[in-house]
């Protein structure tokens, strides 16, 4: 075997958005990158490795989708730079693999004509070939391949079909390409784009016969889901069902985990002798970390809904329905998907704003994204709602607690719209950029993809509990236990501890919003991540209440917090910038400390004001 055959090759996956590049990347490399049925899922480059049957290593690069190499938004810049080898210390890939949706070839044929000018060997992967076959679409592969001057491999990325052939073709192409053409790509003007379209159209006519059984499902479903009135009603209904399910559907499982945790605490208490170690494990770790683990079922239910929406193709429809409202608030149309992703976590949400071309549109979206209710707020909301809101049914079907939860989500959404409106109105006037968005055909969500995503979410949640919450809870336990109360002390021992001191020190500043010292002290470790506040409350109350260790945290809070304090704490958490990781990502994405500082400033101001109003009004109404 020659030397060239063994030297590793580098290939880049390029193509229109939503053509299945990432699905193909996962199939090739065994990766677990995010796949979903809307344009703009991938916003970063990602590298993986595949080994050919001959033992050669191929480095595969997954890239954001694009309609042209004329990059406009930050994600498209990533693709252009990788294809042209414009990054420092990087050469263009040895082979460009153009990934095309076989059922939607016209635009990608034009992109191929652009890619040919890059001067690298090209392989065309005709993906989604299963759908093309189901529709009876006929493509003359030989003829097309001859015309575009590139080998064609048909693939079904989600079922791992055609993968071996693709690898073999990549391997052969790198070896065959003795001389590379010169790179002659430059930005096309309108005339050149038209010419390329004409050429693409000619290829379509000559080599692609229209499908015998075109997809009619998408049109039928859309006539309901995109109906001007029913569409909006269904969208609202879906969100309402989602939050109801998060709240009520998880209860049996949560009770189970709660009982297991209490049992575990009791077991440890029996085995270990009374003393510091027992206190650390029972009050610090089990009560603290356990109080957060209880929320795993809720997180999974929320993600189940989000993944189903993303994988079916509904996301782009929701963006369409909400566009006018978002535009009225000065948000770019493409801001919808980043904001909806922020329901899971603001960090991927903020990263996915890279699909927005204009800097101001993008900054506005970044700054309001943390106002969307992320999953880390669920533990806080659920705990407090469970403690202070009565367990009642409203209108026969809705639980009052679920409605309050829905209200908190609505408050987050409305405040994001409001803040964006104010920003665009007073600081950044001017129109946002043109907005065009592909509405993908509906697909049945792939069960393995859904299961894999859910598993990954569960793992992330558990590992956060292990890496962030566990060490912090040991610290909180330490601060709540030491120093011991002096001899002859009249107050509970925890009042004399460091935690007590810190809490009593901060509390005066938070007294106007009705926070007691335990709530105040929980905010401090809660900076690391929102759900840590729940764990901290768990530990502080467990240590402070060691004798009467009956009932869970929720029961303790119900006995000790007034309605006004509980609602005020909820209002605080709608706005509070309590997550250092988010601030860090804003710094990275904007490349400046200014924007995280602005974000922190405006959010904490809103949090204090909202909590103040809620507390004072509730007290005035007799809820103090």
């Amino acid at each position: 075997m020659s030397q060239a055959a063994l030297s590793p090759a580098r290939v880049a996956l390029v193509g229109n958005p939503n053509s299945g590049k990432t699905a193909l990347f996962n199939a090739l490399t065994g990766g677990r990158a995010k796949v979903a049925n809307y344009a703009g899922v991938t916003v970063e480059r990602k590298e993986g490795v595949v080994t050919t049957v001959t033992g050669r290593t191929i480095h595969v690069l997954d890239l954001p989708g694009t309609y042209s190499l004329r990059a406009r938004s930050p994600d498209e810049v990533v693709t252009r730079d990788a294809v042209l080898g414009q990054l420092a210390g990087e050469t263009p890939p040895d082979v460009i693999v153009c990934v095309a949706d076989a059922t939607n070839l016209r635009l990608v044929l034009r992109l191929i004509l652009e890619l040919k000018k890059v001067g690298r060997p090209l392989v065309l992967a005709l993906n989604m070939f299963d759908i093309a076959q189901r529709q009876g679409l006929r493509i003359d592969l030989e003829g097309l391949s001859r015309e575009i001057g590139a080998p064609i491999v048909t693939t079904v990325a989600t079922r791992k079909r055609g993968i071996e052939e693709l690898v073999a073709q990549i391997d052969a192409t790198t070896l065959a390409a003795a001389t590379l053409d010169a790179q002659t790509w430059r930005e096309p003007d309108a005339g050149e784009i038209r010419d390329a379209h004409r050429e693409a159209q000619r290829l379509m006519k000559a080599y692609v016969r229209p499908p015998e059984r075109p997809d009619t499902l998408t049109g039928k479903v859309d006539s309901v889901l995109l109906h001007p009135v029913w569409g909006l009603v269904i969208l609202l209904g879906l969100l309402l069902v989602m939050f109801q399910a998060v709240f009520t559907g998880a209860t049996p499982l949560m009770d189970l985990i709660d009982a297991a945790m209490t049992g575990l605490g009791g077991l440890v208490a029996q085995v270990l002798p009374e003393g510091l170690l027992r206190s650390l494990i029972v009050d610090g770790i089990v009560a603290g970390v356990g109080s957060v683990l209880v929320f795993l079922p809720q997180i999974l239910i929320l993600f189940f809904f989000i993944i189903m929406l993303e994988d079916s193709g509904y996301m782009a429809r929701a963006a369409f329905l909400m566009d006018k409202i978002m535009g009225g608030a000065g948000l770019h149309g493409r801001a919808f998907i980043p904001l909806l992703s922020s329901f899971a976590c603001a960090i991927p949400g903020i990263m996915s704003t890279r699909v927005i071309d204009n800097k101001r549109d993008r900054l506005t979206t970044i700054l309001v994204a943390p106002l969307m209710t992320c999953s880390a707020r669920i533990p806080v909301y659920t705990l407090i709602i469970g403690a202070v809101i009565p367990h009642r049914t409203v209108g026969g079907i809705f639980s009052l607690q679920g409605l309050v939860m829905f209200g908190l989500y609505a408050a987050g959404i409305l405040s994001a719209l409001g803040v964006s409106f104010v920003m665009r109105r007073f600081f950044w006037r001017g129109m946002s950029e043109p907005f065009m968005m592909e509405l993908p055909t509906y697909k049945k969500p792939d069960p393995t993809n859904v299961a894999r995503n859910l598993l990954m979410r569960g793992q992330i949640f558990m590992s956060r509990a292990g890496r962030i919450i566990l060490p912090l809870m040991v610290l909180v336990w330490f601060l709540s236990t030491f120093p011991y109360a002096p001899a002859g002390a009249t107050e509970p021992a925890i009042d004399y501890s460091f935690a007590g001191m810190i809490g009593h020190f901060i509390q005066p500043a938070l007294a106007p919003i009705g926070f007691n010292w335990q709530m105040s002290v929980a905010l401090v470790p809660g900076m690391a991540a929102r759900e840590v506040a729940v764990a901290a409350l768990g530990t502080v109350y467990a240590v402070g209440d060691a004798e009467a260790a009956t009932g869970g945290l929720s029961a303790r809070l119900a006995a000790q917090w007034s309605l006004a304090s509980g609602l005020s704490f909820l209002a605080w958490y709608v706005f509070a910038p309590q997550c250092v990781a988010t601030l860090g990502v804003v710094k990275r994405e904007t490349n400046s400390w200014l924007w995280p500082a602005v974000m922190f400033g405006y959010m904490i101001t809103l949090a204090y004001l909202a909590a103040l109003i809620v507390y004072q009004v509730t007290v005035a109404l007799g809820g103090g």
Binding site: I193, H227, D323, G430, M436, T441
Partner: protein, 108 residues
């Protein structure tokens, strides 16, 4: 949406198979036809980018002369945005940015 019903009537007798042209921004749901022009005229509207750039983006997205187009959906508020079928794709865009696309309607 548009004030073209008069034209439609007068055109109907003369050339039944050749319809009238409308700007995509003025088209209503159900209108279908062929794109005959994608312009870069100054229209006095603020698109956030200059008109040449808007034209290139429209072209790259497949709004190109000869493409078949049909308006299939519109939003509830102010009939905006619109969703169109563009050959084999479905695309959503705002009416504000659709004014440069000229469509020759099938129906008179």
């Amino acid at each position: 949406m548009n004030n073209l019903s008069m034209d439609r009537v007068t055109m109907a007798d003369a050339t039944p198979e050749v319809g009238i042209t409308v700007r995509l921004s003025d088209a209503s749901v159900g209108d279908r036809g062929v794109i005959v022009d994608v312009r870069a005229d100054l229209d006095g509207k603020d698109h956030g980018v200059d008109v040449e750039e808007l034209q290139r983006r429209l072209l790259e997205f497949g709004f190109v002369e000869g493409a078949r187009i049909e308006v299939i959906h519109e939003g509830a508020i102010g009939h905006d945005p619109i969703a169109v079928r563009l050959d084999d794709m479905r695309v959503a865009l705002r009416r504000r940015d659709a004014g440069e696309v000229i469509v020759l309607l099938d129906r008179p």
